[in-house]
């Protein structure tokens, strides 16, 4: 009889069980984050090691005239996406729950369609939307608009329109995540509340305002942060759609970081940007913890 065998399940020492996970977290997350911070204060390039402490990279990145523009684009891209993704996700989740309650056919098929867009690889997403936004007269959307006597629209060559196009492509792919979160949250609400509301002859809007929205507030708060960070980290679909152009019109922070490290081979500068990306992401994540703790 070993001591292990005498302990009932539900008790014991967690440490041995946690070793693999902790080792992975340390090797692939904690140490790299520290290392990238160290590199940010060095003069390393992708092919040459750091020769010492330096703030040259930090200063050159912070004074780079491109940075304010990139941060502005990132802010707009993230803010608009977060608003649209959540409105769309919430609307779809509530409509599907309603449809399921009324036993309307087609709800599962619709949910499948939204989820199918979610699993499309980011690169393929950019390429597919690139074909749809093709500005030639035979391009998909422009030839459709021509039927309605509209357009053509400079989907990708106009700086402002290009950002709108990038948002559309991201919304197409990203809505499913918010839909799942809100669907789960809505299903978690006690149906009795809705029965009471119905007895009180509360209309759909009143029910939404007084029951659904308050009880989903925490899910919405947490989801806002998750979606912001996901959007902040998105760059492969933009890379494939516009490559950051025209000019820098759609170059968000993550794409700028990618270009700095892997195209300009400026490792130290890229590390500064990576640290910035990390800091913004973590700031938002700490916000989750705070929002989650607020209302238990």
């Amino acid at each position: 009889m070993t001591p292990t065998a005498e302990r009932a399940p539900g008790q014991g020492y967690p440490a041995p069980w946690l070793i693999p996970a902790v080792a992975v977290l340390a090797t692939f997350y904690a140490v790299p984050v520290l290392d990238v911070t160290r590199l940010a204060f060095s003069d390393a390039t992708l092919i040459q090691p750091a020769s010492g402490f330096s703030t040259v990279a930090l200063r050159s990145i912070l004074t780079d005239p491109a940075l304010p523009q990139v941060l502005g684009t990132t802010l707009v891209f993230v803010a608009v996406n977060v608003a649209v993704l959540q409105l769309a996700g919430l609307a779809i989740a509530l409509l599907i729950v309603r449809g399921e309650r009324r036993e309307l056919p087609g709800m599962a098929a619709f949910r499948t369609l939204v989820l199918a867009a979610w699993v499309v690889p980011g690169i393929a997403n950019g390429l597919i939307w690139g074909m749809l936004f093709d500005e030639a007269p035979y391009g998909t959307l422009n030839s459709l608009l021509a039927y309605a006597g509209l357009g053509p629209v400079a989907w990708l060559s106009d700086p402002q329109m290009a950002l709108v196009s990038a948002v559309i492509a991201n919304v197409w792919q990203g809505t499913a995540f918010s839909m799942i979160v809100f669907y789960a949250a809505r299903r978690g609400i006690d149906p009795v509340l809705y029965e009471v509301a119905e007895l009180d002859a509360a209309g759909p809007w009143r029910t939404f305002r007084s029951i659904t929205l308050p009880l989903m507030r925490r899910a919405i708060a947490v989801n806002s942060v998750l979606v912001s960070v996901q959007t902040l980290n998105t760059f492969d679909s933009i890379l494939a759609l516009t490559g950051g152009g025209p000019g820098r019109a759609t170059e968000v922070l993550s794409l700028f970081t990618f270009n700095t490290v892997f195209y300009n081979l400026d490792l130290a500068g890229g590390s500064v940007l990576a640290v910035l990306l990390f800091a913004i992401g973590m700031g938002l994540t700490i916000l989750i913890g705070w929002l989650g703790r607020d209302r238990t």
């Binding site: 070993t2 065998a5 399940p9 539900g10 008790q11 020492y13 967690p14 041995p16 069980w17 070793i19 693999p20 996970a21 902790v22 992975v24 090797t27 692939f28 790299p32 984050v33 990238v36 769309a88 609307a91 779809i92 309603r98 369609l113 939204v114 867009a117 699993v119 499309v120 690889p121 690169i123 393929a124 390429l127 597919i128 074909m131 749809l132 007269p137 035979y138 391009g139 998909t140 030839s143 459709l144 039927y147 799942i180 669907y183 789960a184 299903r187 978690g188 759909p204 960070v229 980290n233 890379l239 993550s254 970081t257 490290v261 890229g270 990576a274 640290v275 990306l277 990390f278 973590m282």
Partner: protein
């Protein structure tokens, strides 16, 4: 009566949204079965007069393309399996071993998911280079394992929580040790949860672009996600139909797996979302 109007409104809104979500897929299929000449006809040929599978034939008869698909499958599957294997002990501890700091571990796992792979890839590239692991599948698989592990822990914890603890208590009284209980009772009972976690990790790996793009430099090692990006750089308007066919081939495996196993995966995700 008002409920009927509500149904009509539900369908009306969902129909508009369905068009938005369906058009890119429909158009991709439409472009992929066109002849080069029909590409120039735009929306007028949404349904081509003579749909052709030639584009798929061209793509799939290229041995390099089959290698890209195989590479994608191999890297995704091994990376997903690694993520699940790494996640099982921690998920079991979080489900069954009460300890202080359990919540910290779970929240910590959620927090590292917020870190962009871009941030950690810079040092990882240098280490892999120093260890001479660049251009080796094992480097990509290791990173996939690390990236997939946190979500797998969450999904597996939910799956383990659902198993009646009495079964484990009975086994424990019979003298079974913890690892034996895990192997003989918990894992077999949690197989649908394990399968969901594995498939989800695999689908995410299939979509990964950054990791293989940076860590694998040789054309022949690339998975499909990197290959189509490279291919897109070389196409012109006259080969749009080939790019569409290539995209479709790259997208279909993930979409099909997801549709077929949707019920299982979505319920696992919803379970995770409720707990989270």
């Amino acid at each position: 009566m008002s409920a009927r109007w509500g149904d009509v409104a539900t369908y009306a809104v969902l129909a508009v949204l369905a068009v938005f979500f369906a058009v890119p897929f429909a158009w991709l299929v439409s472009l992929a079965v066109r002849t080069p000449a029909e590409i120039y006809l735009g929306a007028a040929r949404f349904i081509p007069e003579t749909p052709t599978l030639d584009n798929f034939r061209t793509i799939l008869s290229d041995p390099a393309f089959l290698i890209y698909l195989w590479n994608g499958l191999k890297l995704s599957a091994l990376g997903g399996a690694l993520a699940v294997v790494l996640a099982i002990p921690a998920a079991y501890a979080c489900a069954r071993v009460p300890f202080r700091g359990r919540q910290v571990v779970l929240v910590g796992l959620l927090a590292v998911q917020m870190i962009s792979p871009l941030v950690i890839l810079v040092p990882l590239y240098r280490w892999m280079n120093a260890l001479d692991l660049l251009n080796r599948d094992v480097s990509v698989i290791a990173v996939y394992g690390a990236l997939g592990m946190p979500l797998a822990v969450w999904l597996l914890k939910v799956a383990f929580d659902a198993i009646p603890i009495e079964l484990e208590e009975a086994a424990s009284i019979d003298g079974a040790s913890r690892p034996v209980i895990l192997m003989r009772i918990v894992l077999p009972l949690a197989r649908s949860g394990i399968a969901s976690a594995f498939i989800l990790a695999m689908v995410m790996n299939w979509s990964q672009f950054l990791i293989p793009f940076i860590l694998l430099e040789r054309d022949g090692d690339w998975p499909i996600s990197v290959a189509i990006f490279n291919f897109a750089g070389s196409v012109s308007a006259s080969t749009t139909q080939l790019l569409a066919a290539a995209c479709l081939v790259a997208v279909m495996p993930a979409v099909l797996v997801f549709i077929l196993l949707q019920r299982m995966i979505v319920s696992a995700l919803i379970g995770g979302a409720v707990k989270g």
